[in-house]
Subunit: 320 residues, 2 copies
């Protein structure tokens, strides 16, 4: 399962209820987690969750705009002050590497752990982060180069070939247990090799987290295997028509129509303009999504948590 | 009067109750205010006060360490998104100018208002920021060049020379009123010039706000005319002795002894190590100050407000 914690859902500027962009995605089988975007004060948000900077395995930055990255350097510094020693992977536009390195030099910052920068253009090919987690980038359309990230958890487990063992007449119990644990056994005078009776099963959880983008259809290919799309919906279509296309953001309608065409089972919208953050503003977004998308959808709030399981089931965590 | 709002009082890293360094100082005669230091999420703190980025007249950065400046760029960006047009003065080490300009370039940030950078070394001479506010920098001792800032409000007003007018027999009322408003009057066949009967009175409020520093005595000269010193007290002396001198911070004892020697009437301590932020830690700091300093002192908390009037009276604002 993947476990999502929204750390910031506001577009452009923080507001009293929503911070600028950041999303934590944890592998629910352990404590490993990935951070997508790090707007200013992301570390302050993290302090109010159970997530630890010690277990952070990768940071993805969707694009260079400040509301998606200005919290990166403070977060790296605090991880250092808390004596993080493990290397940390950062997948981002190369300007982010320049910014981090220049900032460290100008502000006398020395990190006690190595940063492994991967230019986001190279992450068009899947990057294996841990045994179970991998990340792949997809190009989007915005005022600066912007990317979405596929976050993929792949779980493999070994199953006994019960049908074969039953046909052979191997009794359940000790014999099956030994084979399952990789031991060869003797049966009716023959050696049965464990490897011959173990089958590898793989299950995958795949979520796509978009950066700022005015062409959701760019994710068509990526969505073929995705169970969840998390995408910006800065405005309603009415607001976007008034604001004009120059900010290069998506409306709720644009994202909803795309998700419907793709038959996506689940959709979470985020990155709301301050004008759409009050009750009426959120309702207008929700109404627009409902009109054009018939799947399971949520509008994210800061600190909302969700799980996505291997069957593709998205559930909102009840935080009471 | 000067009006102080502490926006961050933690050393090094934010904690759940205290943010990293920032202090707002407002001229209580209008809405003009100065920000000293801008740790990450200073703009988030400002959102929870009545201060507006539109009325900010200057930002002083004491030194380049991240817990004193990483919030600067996000704050400048948000002021821009809120359509600030007035120029903004930044007095800081020159690395801060490089950092802001490089960050703006790498992150596609365009501010709709001009920044006027003043190298802090040049601010060793007083810098007039508004008609009433001026700033002067003083060198401190830390791991990187660090500075304190004198924030000085100078209030002038015109008073009638009542003694002279009474001796001449000029009656109160219309005649005095006209002279006060700058009009010349005729009296007993003579022209009395307003300028001859107006006296300029000047009152000054002077607070010193220190950056990180392990030699409070460097402020001896500056303290000659100051009514208030705001200084870091990262540790108690016991903790400092254990940590060692290499972080180059002050203990409560060091600052208290200095303030006592200078006969300073008021002292506010801030920038506490996370280990001194619980009740016992704060009490240990307070006990140490009490032992060595007999004046009026406070340990600052985030969002604490104080006023300093022209008589040098420091008062904590009761926020209910």
């Amino acid at each position: 399962m993947l476990h999502f914690t929204f750390l910031g859902t506001s577009s452009g500027v923080p507001t009293l209820t929503r911070n600028v962009s950041a999303l934590a995605i944890r592998n629910s089988k352990n404590k490993d987690w990935i951070l997508v975007d790090a707007g200013e004060a992301t570390q302050h948000r993290i302090q109010r969750t159970k997530l630890s900077l010690q277990n952070l395995v990768a940071i993805c930055i969707t694009h260079v705009h400040g509301d998606h990255c200005y919290g990166l350097i403070g977060l790296l510094a605090s991880a250092g002050m808390n004596r993080r020693a493990e290397p940390l992977t950062i997948i981002a536009p190369k300007e982010i590497q320049q910014w981090v390195e220049t900032t460290a030099r100008l502000t006398d910052l020395y990190l006690p752990y190595p940063l492994k920068f991967i230019d986001v253009h190279n992450a068009i090919h899947p990057q294996h982060i841990t045994d179970e987690l991998s990340i792949q980038a997809h190009s989007l359309s915005h005022r600066v180069p912007s990317f979405a990230f596929s976050i993929i958890a792949q779980y493999t487990h070994q199953k006994l070939d019960i049908q074969a063992l039953t046909q052979l007449g191997v009794p359940k119990g000790q014999a099956w247990g030994d084979l399952k644990q990789g031991k060869n056994i003797e049966f009716n005078g023959n050696i049965l090799k464990s490897a011959d009776y173990l089958q590898t099963h793989t299950q995958q959880v795949h979520a796509i987290v978009g950066g700022d983008n005015d062409q959701p259809e760019l994710l068509t290919q990526a969505c073929q295997t995705a169970q969840l799309l998390i995408h910006e919906s800065t405005y309603t279509q009415t607001t976007l028509d008034r604001v004009g296309k120059s900010p290069m953001h998506s409306s709720a309608k644009m994202v909803a129509e795309f998700a419907q065409q793709q038959h996506l089972s689940s959709l979470i919208l985020t990155h709301f303009s301050p004008r759409h953050q009050d009750h009426a503003g959120q309702q207008a977004i929700a109404d627009e999504v409902s009109e054009f998308y018939k799947g399971n959808f949520y509008l994210a709030n800061d600190f909302d948590q969700f799980t996505l399981d291997t069957t593709g089931q998205l559930s909102k965590v009840n935080l009471k």
